[in-house]
């Protein structure tokens, strides 16, 4: 569609656009021989081939009464990028259209063997069973409901403290002791903090919700999900100073690494540290 519009505009410019016109016409001619379906695909290639003449968009042609060879070259470079961007957009739209066109027959052909006397194919039955499954039993189709945690509620308190409101709630959801989670949080953040009267965790330093969330995700990967079956239904048990992860789904037991704070650099001023001691 777009192309035809452009073509009309070109025509109005008659003499000047003649050169590009012929180029376009040449491309378009073979298209007539193809059926409706092919046309779409051909169009994409056509826009590609029509490259330079097409990028001389009407606005630009207005300013240039007679376009000599020289000016054309000058304009080429900035236009190319623009053209490419446009092409991409065009291509994207085209792709979607094509996909839809391809999808439609598939949808209609579903269970089409009922009307005809041909046999069903394996693929058809496969899509049928998955469709039914998806409708009636979605968690069997592999679209397992993913383990989700409540997003942590994190707010800044003052200029150098962060408050984590729903830590206890999240810990309950993961079936983990808050102490263990806090230990991990502090080790990863390289900081310290405390739990205040209303069960909120006060962390030293400024942290954003996203950062806390990332650490929680890592905690879940390491200390909550079962390494064997990926189930989050696990229990963490301490046995002889070593933590073990017991899976409630598959029964696997695996030891997990203890949380190490690691090296901590001195970030406070020495005088302040001495005062704290």
């Amino acid at each position: 569609m777009k192309k035809k519009k452009k073509k009309k505009k070109d025509k109005s410019l008659d003499t000047a656009a003649a050169a590009s016109e012929t180029a376009e016409a040449q491309v378009e001619d073979p298209m007539a021989m193809f059926g409706e379906k092919k046309k779409k695909k051909k169009k994409k290639t056509a826009t590609l081939e029509a490259d330079t003449p097409r990028s001389e968009s009407p606005a630009e042609v207005d300013s240039i009464a007679s376009f000599g060879e020289k000016k054309k070259k000058k304009k080429k470079r900035p236009n190319l990028a623009e053209f490419e961007a446009q092409l991409k957009a065009d291509g994207g739209i085209d792709d979607v259209v094509e996909e839809q066109a391809e999808e439609k027959p598939e949808n209609t052909s579903e269970e089409s063997w009922l009307d005809s006397d041909r046999d069903y194919t394996y693929d058809e039955l496969l899509t049928r069973i998955f469709k039914i499954l998806r409708e009636k039993n979605p968690d069997l189709v592999g679209e397992k409901k993913r383990y989700t945690i409540v997003p942590p509620q994190v707010h800044r308190e003052g200029s150098r403290k962060t408050v984590f409101f729903n830590l206890v709630e999240i810990c309950k959801r993961m079936h983990r002791q808050p102490e263990h989670v806090i230990q991990f949080l502090f080790a990863e953040l390289g900081t310290s903090g405390s739990i205040d009267g209303s069960q909120r965790l006060v962390i030293k330093g400024r942290f954003q919700q996203k950062q806390i969330e990332n650490i929680l995700k890592r905690y879940i990967m390491e200390y909550v999900t079962c390494k064997v079956c990926k189930s989050p239904e696990t229990i963490l048990e301490k046995d002889n100073r070593i933590f073990f992860l017991h899976c409630e789904a598959c029964g696997a037991v695996k030891s997990v690494s203890t949380i190490k704070t690691g090296f901590k650099a001195q970030t406070e001023k020495r005088a302040a540290q001495r005062a704290a001691q």
């Binding site: 150098r160 390289g190 330093g205 690691g262 090296f263 970030t267």
Partner: protein, 111 residues
Amino acid sequence: MSDIQNFKSYDPFADTGEEETQTKSFDYIHIRIQQRNGRKTLTTITGLPKEISQKKILKEFKKIFACNGTIVENEDYGQVIQLQGDHRLKVQQFLVDEKIATKSQVKIHGF
């Protein structure tokens, strides 16, 4: 006959030795981050192999990342490299590129 697996003489449950040398001689290199006052941060690197001159590596880090840094002696962790600013990913990339460690041997901590 020797094509049949059962007749082969090696013990499939025996240690191949490969894993052991990997895990034993090489502890993780930990790269951590700490917040300093305001939005300033500090990157610490522990567990670098002792064969490598920490001084030279620090010099490289300082040059490439355009930051300052020091080596801190620590009882538990030996020599620790400290860099100003967050260079965790760059340090990891450097260690992998220079074949000092594989990606899985470098543990990045923090947010």
